[in-house]
């Protein structure tokens, strides 16, 4: 059996279930308690678990991220909510230098079983400082894991896996996904970190996405199907570790690859995917790998300009057409 659940409810279910099974798990962040969560992800959790385990913080990301890391070092399993990942920039030192390094610096004496989570990338017209795709910064860092679920079931399963993981795990959610509905199997437990999934099968081109861009990829694939181009859509789910086997298997089948993600084109997850594909599927490729990203400018406020800056299905469609036509005589 399965239930239809919104993305935010799936995240909440994951936290509630893990807090019920493990006393050492707690939730800390701005407005997570009395306010019921800035995006209502933690709604009702204060009443359920009390102030000891659902902890409102002042506006001090560096402070409470560091407190989470310290608590994790001595055996608790904190869930630290950033109201948005944009605000993690002031806590970057805690994630980069402490969470990701303490195991190595201590020669393996300490582990840091902590989850950082919150909405990532663009919302709607929130301007340049609130629209960052932060996963690209974090996915380069050894010592952390980074996941970016697109669907409620994966949001729940990956968050549960993140909470049980003995390493720091960064969960990239999306404000524009919180109300998205999806089916969750009743027997869902954890979704293992590090496994991509095929969410659409096809033969002409692989479109690789994650988080909200998986939905954009699916929309593009649907449009392309109407013009006779068959696309496979790979939903990464996990960015670090990256499931290169699933990506490469798909590209070896379709011979073409387009990567779509929010965030700027310089470097990033798309460049990482492109590097792996060209190394591991070079002889199968019929076209260069293209990336569809946010344009290389700070995000504008203007609604029209914002949409034009963000990866849209139309831009994905255009990229796929280019790589598909390249292999044909008329291209």
């Amino acid at each position: 059996m399965a239930r239809t659940v919104r993305y935010r409810e799936a995240l909440r279910e994951a936290m509630v279930e893990e807090m019920e099974r493990d006393e050492s798990v707690f939730l800390m962040g701005e407005e997570v308690g009395h306010y019921q969560g800035a995006y209502k992800v933690s709604e009702g959790m204060l009443a359920r678990f009390g102030e000891r385990r659902v902890i409102d913080t002042p506006i001090a990301e560096s402070g409470f991220a560091g407190i989470g890391v310290g608590a994790a070092m001595v055996g608790l399993r904190p869930i630290i909510e950033f109201m948005t990942w944009n605000f993690s920039a002031v806590a970057f030192d805690q994630i980069l230098n402490n969470a990701a390094k303490v195991r190595q610096m201590s020669g393996g004496q300490l582990t840091c079983p902590i989850v950082f989570r919150g909405p990532n990338a663009s919302a709607r017209q929130v301007g340049s400082q609130h629209s960052h795709a932060m996963e690209h910064f974090y996915a380069t860092v050894p010592g952390v894991k980074v996941v970016a679920p697109a669907f409620p079931a994966d949001a729940k399963g990956l968050l549960k896996a993140a909470i049980r993981d003995d390493n720091p795990v960064l969960v990239m959610e999306s404000e524009t996904l919180y109300s998205v509905k999806g089916e969750i199997p009743d027997d869902l437990d954890v979704v293992p970190i590090g496994q991509a999934q095929l969410v659409r099968e096809g033969t002409d081109c692989s479109i690789v996405g994650y988080s909200r861009m998986t939905h954009v990829a699916l929309e593009a694939a649907e449009a392309l199907a109407r013009e006779g181009i068959s696309c496979e859509v790979v939903d990464l789910r996990s960015l670090r570790p990256l499931d290169e086997d699933t990506i490469v298997r798909s590209v070896r089948k379709t011979h073409r690859c387009v990567v779509v993600h929010e965030g700027w084109p310089y470097g990033g997850v798309g460049a990482e995917v492109a590097d792996r594909v060209q190394r591991l599927a070079f002889d199968w490729l019929d076209a260069p790998i293209l990336r569809v990203t946010t344009l290389d400018v700070p995000m504008p406020y203007n609604a029209n300009l914002e949409q034009l800056c963000m990866p849209q299905p139309t831009r994905v469609v255009e990229a796929v057409r280019r790589v598909v036509r390249r292999g044909r005589a008329e291209a």
């Binding site: 707690f26 000891r52 402070g63 890391v69 310290g70 230098n97 303490v102 393996g108």
Partner: protein
């Protein structure tokens, strides 16, 4: 000024008279031995550094030994300590062996962090030494997190967080202290004011001279004293530890001390005069402790025996570090992630 009968903060009058109850003699001898071990280990480390056997940064604690030794003397073994990159003294005070420390400085597999951490990152988790950290102020929220965990679990532990006066200008200090105060965490923030943040004297980096005043804005207790006498350090830190343990309230303690060496091995310390340094060396906490032991009748022969024991321990540590194997590549991946991982 504070909630709990603040003692007089005024007397910055230097060392007081050398009078101690004789019952403390063996205890003082033990503290003197720890301080001497720290100093001798560091002197040998400086020598090894000059020979190229130790690389990277090496920040010596020489002159400040009474702070770590006195503070840790006020703790129970399973209390937590956490500090900056100037961490050799605290590591030894908290129980790390000279061998494990020296081998870590040499980058050897037998070091406390298997040669992965180095001088700035000494960890001895079984002894509650939760590390030295290299980003100024970044470890202060971590310390608050350890204290948060103690309160969450009601485990009765106290956390000591050490940092220099140079850390008091960065955000990590303020967020860590602010949250510890808000949540009434069992922690003692120990500012080791050694008067110089690298080469910048306090008067050029802070708008107030009294670092402990930073406690006022957070509504927590404070204390301020000189570190000349290790027993004074123990007693005064002990009061803050007791406050943390019994009432779960944090304290900011400014301990006034002085480092006799440069900021690191590459620093000739030209920003201060030789006269200033010589004046400060007259207040060496080791000399003071030793003089007191003699004055109070501990006996020269016992002191010599103690000192010879330290020499043997240090020589063995250097030999151990020198002869220990290097870590190999196989250690890298398992020390980065817990459990299997393939990026």
């Amino acid at each position: 000024m504070s909630q709990q009968g603040q003692k007089d903060l005024a007397p910055d009058t230097g060392p007081g008279p050398l009078t101690r109850p004789s019952g403390q003699l063996d205890h003082l001898a033990d503290l003197y031995r720890q301080m001497l071990l720290i100093r001798r280990v560091e002197e040998e480390a400086a020598r090894a550094y000059a020979m190229g056997k130790i690389g990277g940064f090496l920040h010596l604690y020489i002159g400040q030994e009474s702070v770590a030794v006195g503070a840790v003397a006020a703790l129970k073994r399973d209390d937590y300590c956490i500090t900056t990159y100037r961490d050799h003294g605290l590591a030894i005070a908290k129980g790390m062996s000279a061998k494990a420390l020296m081998a870590e400085l040499y980058g050897k597999a037998t070091g406390c962090s298997k040669g992965l951490g180095g001088s700035m990152h000494l960890f001895d988790v079984p002894n509650g030494m939760l590390g030295g950290y290299g980003i100024v102020g970044g470890h202060i929220p971590l310390a608050a997190g350890c204290a948060f965990a103690s309160k969450y679990r009601s485990d009765g532990r106290v956390t000591l967080c050490f940092f220099g006066e140079g850390a008091v200008s960065i955000g990590g200090f303020h967020e860590g202290v602010s949250l510890a105060a808000l949540w009434k965490l069992p922690i003692v923030f120990i500012c080791e004011n050694n008067e110089y943040a690298m080469g910048t004297p306090l008067y050029r980096s802070m708008s107030v001279e009294d670092v402990s005043m930073k406690a006022l804005g957070y509504g927590i207790d404070r204390d301020r004293f000189f570190a000349d006498d290790v027993l004074t350090v123990e007693q005064r830190i002990g009061e803050a530890v007791q406050r943390a343990r019994e009432t779960s309230l944090p304290t900011l303690v400014e301990v006034r001390t002085y480092r006799f060496r440069g900021h690191s091995m590459s620093d000739p310390a030209k920003y201060r005069s030789q006269a200033e340094l010589e004046e400060q060396k007259k207040r060496d906490p080791l000399s003071r402790a030793r003089a007191q032991l003699i004055a109070d009748g501990y006996g020269e022969p016992r002191i010599h025996a103690l000192e010879e024991g330290v020499e043997v321990e240090v020589a063995e540590a250097v030999k151990f570090a020198d002869e220990s194997p290097e870590p190999d590549m196989s250690i890298l991946e398992p020390s980065t992630y817990s459990g299997p991982f393939s990026a």
